[in-house]
Structures are given as C-alpha cells and as structure tokens.
C-alpha cells in the first residue's frame, strides 16, 4: 500500500489522477509497477526461506548436528510423504478437539461475561472463582480429568475449553461495558429493555474485544489440545509426538509439529477473515493515514 501510494505521489500525472477520480481503470504502467511490487513481496521471503533450508540441509549433512536432535528438511519432507496418512488422521482428531474446545470455551466465556454484566451477585460470587480457576495448572490435573471423563476426546476438549474461556470472559466483559454512554442514555430514554440494549449497543461495542479474545485463543486452543494429548492419549498430534519422540523419529516429530502449526495458523487466519467480514471498520481504522 505504501509503495502504491508512493507511486501515486511521485509519478501520477494530472490525466491519470483525473482518470482515477472518474473510477476508470488505472493506466498500464501503474498496474505493471504494482504487479512487480507484489512479485517482489512474494519472492523476497521465498528467497530467504530457500537460503535457510539449504543452510539447514547442509548443516545436517555435514554431521555437525546429531540426526537425533535436528533432522534435515529433506528428511522431514520424506516423513510427510511416508507418514502423511497417519499424520493427517492424527491432525483431524486434534483439530476436532481444539475447535470443539475453542467454540465451547468462547461461548462459555461470552455467556459468563453477559451474566456478570447484568448480575452483580454472579459477578461477586463467580468471577473470583473464574479468576482462581485460571491459575490452576490444568495440565497437572489432566490425569484426574482422565479419571472423570475417560480417555477419549472429552478431557482434551475440557482442557482446551478451560484455557480458552478466560480470555473471552475478560475481553467480552470489557467490551460489553465499553458501550457509548450517550447511546446508552438515549436507549434509556426510549425505554429499551436490557435485551435490546445488549443486542443494539453492547454487543456491537464488544466486537473488537471479542475478536481480540478469539485471536488469542485461536492458537492457544491447538497448543492446549496437543499438551493434553501428551499426558495420555492414543490418537492425535500430541500422541504422535510422544510416540515418535520415544523412538527418535525426529523427522516425523517435526512433521507433526509443522502440521499442528499450519492448522493453528489456519484457524487464526479464519478468525482474521471473519473479523474482516464481520467488522471491516476495525482493520480500516488500524491502518496509518500514509497507507
């Protein structure tokens, strides 16, 4: 954007500017310049990545690093091909656990925030407990969760929910309280019901805060599910990492980690995409004027 505006500032003639103002297609030279910039934007990081991968491969082939510590990129690629079906099946399990925990945890956090907003009693009684619960080292009590919920997906979903609900609770509560005072007064004079206040003013006001919470938990939900699987599981990415790790199949361990990272980033990307669709003004507001 900065580059494009730079072109506009430096090289746009009066005729071109007039054409732009008439919403006509931009001149050919401008499109070419923008295209070249985009190609460079893709090629530059790609070139760095290639250099890093070649350096990494050379380091591994030199024997300076034990293959039990750092596998080569080619070995990791081979592991993707060789163990792809296993890795994808495990990734599906972990994704289901992570996303179920993500959805349930965020719903719980938001519902609690609404309850705390309207009920002084619930805020005084439950909020301190919710805060204290956040301090519980949940991974340490995972064996107990397995006793209660069995060894399936339930304890992993619970751990994920547990780690996800608090950021949503805190952010949503702050967002719901962030409603414009004058608008709230207007609604009061119009005798709006609490539900109308919530729907028309408080919930829209909380949107930026809610998306902040969703972004935090988009990656955290995956980490939580994988860590819960480490403790005890017979499926999932966390299980595979423990199993492959115990057999020193480091390329497979890295492949599992990379798949987890990719899915986690995809979930984050989906949240960002949803934010852009639901609240496009948030992104526009963040951009500096020079863009």
């Amino acid at each position: 954007m900065a580059f494009e505006s730079g072109i506009l500032e430096q090289g746009l003639g009066a005729a071109d500017e007039a054409a732009l103002h008439r919403n006509e297609p931009p001149p050919g030279w401008l499109l070419e310049a923008i295209g070249a910039h985009r190609v460079r934007a893709v090629l530059a990081p790609l070139a760095v990545l290639v250099v890093v991968l070649v350096g990494w491969q050379s380091l591994c082939e030199s024997g300076a690093v034990s293959p039990l510590i750092l596998p080569s990129p080619l070995a990791i690629a081979e592991a993707f091909i060789k163990d792809g079906p296993n890795l994808l099946a495990a990734a599906t399990v972990t994704t289901i656990e992570a996303l179920t925990g993500f959805v349930l945890g965020n719903i719980l956090g938001f519902v609690l925030a609404v309850a705390f907003l309207y009920s002084e009693l619930s805020r005084r009684t439950v909020y301190p407990l919710a805060m204290a619960a956040q301090a519980v080292p949940i991974v340490a009590v995972t064996p107990a969760l397995i006793l209660w919920f069995g060894n399936g997906m339930a304890p992993k979903i619970f751990v994920t929910m547990f780690l996800v609900f608090f950021p949503m609770l805190v952010n949503a509560l702050r967002g719901l309280r962030n409603a414009d005072t004058e608008v709230m007064e207007l609604l009061y004079t119009l005798s709006a019901t609490p539900l109308q206040q919530l729907r028309m003013v408080r919930m829209p006001a909380s949107v930026p805060f809610v998306f902040n919470a969703l972004k935090i938990s988009a990656c955290a939900c995956f980490v939580a599910a994988i860590v819960a699987e480490w403790v005890a599981a017979d499926r999932g990415i966390g299980y595979l990492i423990v199993l492959y790790g115990s057999q020193y199949r480091m390329p497979q361990v890295w492949a599992a980690v990379l798949i987890g990272t990719a899915i986690s980033m995809a979930v984050y990307g989906l949240v960002v995409f949803a934010e852009a669709r639901v609240a496009p003004w948030l992104n526009r507001r963040k951009r500096p004027i020079s863009d």
């Binding site: 690093v65 034990s66 293959p67 039990l68 510590i69 995972t142 064996p143 107990a144 397995i146 006793l147 069995g150 060894n151 403790v231 005890a232 599981a233 017979d234 299980y239 423990v242 199993l243 115990s246 057999q247 020193y248 199949r249 480091m250």
Partner: protein
C-alpha cells in the same frame, strides 16, 4: 631494648615468629601447589542417570559421595534424569559422556543413525512389568483377555508385542492410554492392569494405597532386556585415553555396588537421607533395593561377572524392537556391545 651483640628475649621471639611465619607460608604454598596439582590430575567425566536418583542409581551416587571416583582420578558429574531428560539424545549430541538407558531406546537411536557403544548393564532381567489388581483375578498373562489395561503412550508398541507373543487377541482387551506416572487409574479401579511399571516401584506404591497387586515381569514373557545399560558415543569409545576413563569409572561404581549388596536396606537409607531427590519413601526404597538385587544378578553374572553385557539378551531385545516397530530395521547388537571395559575391570562373579 637492645643490649648490643646479645639479643633480648623479645628480639628472639620476634625472629622466631618471622621464621615460623615463613615456614607456615612455605608449607601453605607447597600444600596449595600440591592441591592444585591434584585437582588438575582429576579428569572430568559426566554421566546421566537412567532415572531420578534412587536406589536404582546407587552405584554412581555412592561412588561420588564416598570419593571412589576421586580415588580413580575422576571428577564425575552425575546428572539426574526423569521426565523430559533423554539420555540417548544427550549422548548423541555430546552434551554428556556416559548415558544410562534402556536397550530399546538405545536401539531406537541406533536405528535413526546414532553410533553408540554399550559397555555395561545394571540389570540382567528387565524390571519392566505389567501390574494387575489382585481382585481382577489375573493370575497369568493370558488372563487379561476381557480386562481393561492402561497403557503408557511410549509402551503401546511394546504391549502390542506382548499380546502377540502370548497369543492374546488384542480385540479381547480394552486398552486405554494413561499418563507416564499415573497409578491413580489402577488404584481407583478404572483399569485392571497397568503397562509398563517398574516391578518394584509402582506395585509397592499401589499396595501402599490399599490395593493388592500381581506383578508380571516382561522378562518372563519373551521380552527381556538389559535395562539401565551404560553407553557412550562410538567416537568417545574409539579414543584409548577415554576408554581408560570408562575403566576407572566402572571400577569405582562397582566398588559402590558391592556396598549395596552387603546392605541393601542401608543403601536405601543412604539414598533417602542423602537428599538426592525429593519425595523418596524409605519403605518403598528399602523394598526396591531388596528386590532389585535379584534382577541384577543371575547365572550369567555368576559366570562372567557383575554388570556384564549379554549378547543373547540384546539380540532378543533387537528382535522385539523390530517386531514392535520401535526400530524400522533389525539392529545387530554384536558391534554395539563391548566387553572390553568389563574385561579390564574384572568385576566379581556373583
């Protein structure tokens, strides 16, 4: 006050003090020099234990405390292990000289390209076992059909092989994954058996919680291995000077182990009261010390010597590692093992 040629008492005392100080200084300096020379003579060596310090690692800890290593000219650093400490990776990366680990792990490392040399083994019979609640009615391995078994994640391939070797249909057993140190699921009755346990660790703790158990050692079911084997990198072993260090190390540790066999209960007390790790229970450690002695000696050690590496056992372990897919190829342990250090140490035949 001076009186000419004849010194007074005070003058004599002053001179005497000066001479004594000079002698004392010279003696201190000499002692210091001798001391620093002695310290320089000690050669640094590091060892990572097989687990958190307990009677299982009495040899290294006692030899260190009693100065047996120092007597051999070694300055040994003992690194405790436990959850998250991987001896195979540490030796492979060169961050530690000697590793003590299970053969399955060493073989898995070799299968992935690491080069090691195994020069001694603590256990002749594996203490790895399946522990079952007595009230489950399981008296022999085949009785687990129709029962619920908790399996630790890394032990899953091992348990699958155990069922296969003992003609147990996996479909007839309900398995569930459990945490690495979890005995609560067995105590609570959610499972009938747990795999794997150390034959004299978890069973004792479970019984202390009021649940009588039956213990099935995997060594009796075709899955024997020389647990807690001592290994170094191939490069380390190839250096004659470093090989000599291993002789000294093993000689000192063996001396400590002889004290263990004289008084296992005293060894347990030493480990508990020595403050090597938190949370050791004297009753459990005494029980473990007395039981583990039976797993460390057998007819083979009576013939060859204490801590001798057994090629036949390693061959069996290598076959099992391949069958359980812990390794993706059959590792021939012939080149992996060496009795060279043991031959020089000449351990007692017991």
């Amino acid at each position: 006050m001076s009186t000419g040629l004849f010194p007074t008492d005070a003058t004599q005392r002053r001179k005497l003090r000066v001479r004594l100080a000079a002698v004392a200084f010279a003696a201190t300096a000499l002692a210091g020099l001798a001391g620093s020379a002695g310290a320089e003579e000690l050669t640094k060596l590091s060892v990572v234990l097989g687990y958190v310090p307990n009677v299982e690692s009495f040899g290294a800890e006692y030899a260190l405390k009693q100065g047996y290593f120092k007597d051999e000219g070694l300055d040994v650093t003992v690194i405790p292990a436990g959850q998250g400490v991987d001896q195979v990776q540490m030796v492979s990366a060169g961050t530690v000289d000697i590793g003590i680990s299970n053969p399955e792990q060493i073989l898995a490392g070799v299968a992935q390209g690491a080069k090691f040399k195994v020069f001694a083994s603590e256990f002749q019979k594996t203490p790895m076992a399946m522990t079952c609640r007595k009230d489950s009615g399981i008296e022999k391995a085949s009785d687990i059909a129709g029962k619920r078994v908790g399996v630790k994640t890394p032990a899953k391939p091992f348990f699958d092989l155990f069922m296969s070797k003992n003609s147990i249909d996996p479909a007839s057993v309900t398995t569930t994954s459990i945490g690495p140190n979890d005995i609560s699921v067995l105590i609570s009755g959610q499972i009938d058996c747990e795999v794997t346990t150390f034959a004299f660790n978890e069973p004792r703790l479970i019984e202390a919680a009021g649940v009588p158990v039956n213990v099935f050692s995997f060594g009796d079911y075709g899955l024997n291995s020389q647990v807690d084997s001592y290994f170094v990198s191939d490069a380390f072993f190839a250096d004659p000077a470093k090989k000599e260090l291993l002789v000294k190390y093993l000689r000192a540790e063996q001396k400590a182990w002889m004290e263990f066999f004289k008084d296992p209960a005293g060894a347990a007390k030493f480990m508990v009261e020595g403050g090597f790790t938190d949370g050791l229970d004297l009753d459990q450690q005494t029980y473990q010390a007395e039981k583990q002695a039976l797993y460390m000696k057998d007819a083979f050690t009576a013939e060859k010597g204490f801590m001798w590496v057994n090629l036949d056992t390693w061959k069996e372990t290598a076959q099992n590692a391949l069958a359980s897919k812990v390794t993706d190829k059959l590792i021939d342990p012939t080149d992996l093992l060496s009795t060279e250090i043991l031959e020089k140490v000449a351990p007692p035949k017991m």
